[in-house]
Symmetry: C2
Subunit: 197 residues, 2 copies
Amino acid sequence: MSASKREELVQNALTIFYEGGFNAIGMDRIAAETGVSKTSIYKHFRTKEDLILATLRLHDEQFRNWLVRRVEVLASEPAQRLLAVFDALREWLLEPEFRGCMFVKASAEFQDRASPIHAASAEHKRLLQIYFEKLADKAGAGHPGELAAQLQLLIEGAITIAHLHDPHLAAETAGAAARVLINAALPANAVPMVAED
Amino acid sequence: MSASKREELVQNALTIFYEGGFNAIGMDRIAAETGVSKTSIYKHFRTKEDLILATLRLHDEQFRNWLVRRVEVLASEPAQRLLAVFDALREWLLEPEFRGCMFVKASAEFQDRASPIHAASAEHKRLLQIYFEKLADKAGAGHPGELAAQLQLLIEGAITIAHLHDPHLAAETAGAAARVLINAALPANAVPMVAED
DNA sequence: ACGGTGATTGACTGATCGGTACACCTTCCC
DNA sequence: GGGAAGGTGTACCGATCAGTCAATCACCGT
């Protein structure tokens, strides 16, 4: 199996797991829907857990790349980029394929902290946190780590609520709250508040 | 089976599902660990889904009762009660048995919006939102629904991050962010800010 | 054209899944 | 004591689980 074939398999497995859950999807179904026989899959991934880890690694890379590039396109000023994170978030939440955060689901199904899957999910969130902290620092926040942590709570909450209720409302609420938190954390009024009517 | 026996079964199933996940725990294990035979369980619950729904209903009731009473004890002034929600949240996140939100996990494993389990999870969050909105209204917020939605994002985010990373940090961050959001949403300075370092 | 080699496969394993058939055993009224 | 009634446990159903293996396929240098 070529490297590209392998990546294609992981990509397809990613989609299937994302739509159906990890425990609920069996390897037989992965084999059937990807067109790759189970034996071949097990040649490249020792266990189902290994395959899941590969999908998580791929998704982590794809998602963070997408986010960083989207934010770069949406804004150029550091303070505006902090807000642009929430514009990008809205775009994601409003996608019709949106089904919540894959890593949150993974950690929900593999909750043992000793599980590599749980660890991979935690690592993804940690890398995001570092990215937000860098943005907050460039924007001039007094305590960039604190602001980044606060914004991450909003983002995770918005993902959860968007999955359970209205994605529009979750995105708008997160953006409004982020505006307040960012404004409170930046020294000057670097970010204009929306009119309070 | 008496009503109390039935409730005990649901309570035990709740604990087992919470610790092990819904799909990952089989009915055989529920029977073995509760000491009630599978046949008896199926006499009272038509399907596994029915049993899960019963555990979710029980947990919804227990959790919201706990939260409301805890907030009543922790604070008496309306504005302080909004903050007390985050004190209660901290207590929960720091419990050694804390494993994330049961409803978030349920909706992660049963993501089809048509699933009654997904609906029950959404309903739980909706009831919480209504409670927060009532608190925000009594505290004098100009747009209580908006403030309540923002606070709920913080809470959901804190639950997620506490499960993946440090519960202490998640609780502290949520409390600090809530303070900022509440202060910005209330007309007077009803809630004193913490010192800025 | 051919022998060899590594990738691929369909068919299989024992275990477990959600759910059920039936025999049993208590309980109660008489 | 007899018998009806209903709750309970054992043993089982077909389906599916993660994972394996002997046989087969495609491709390569010669």
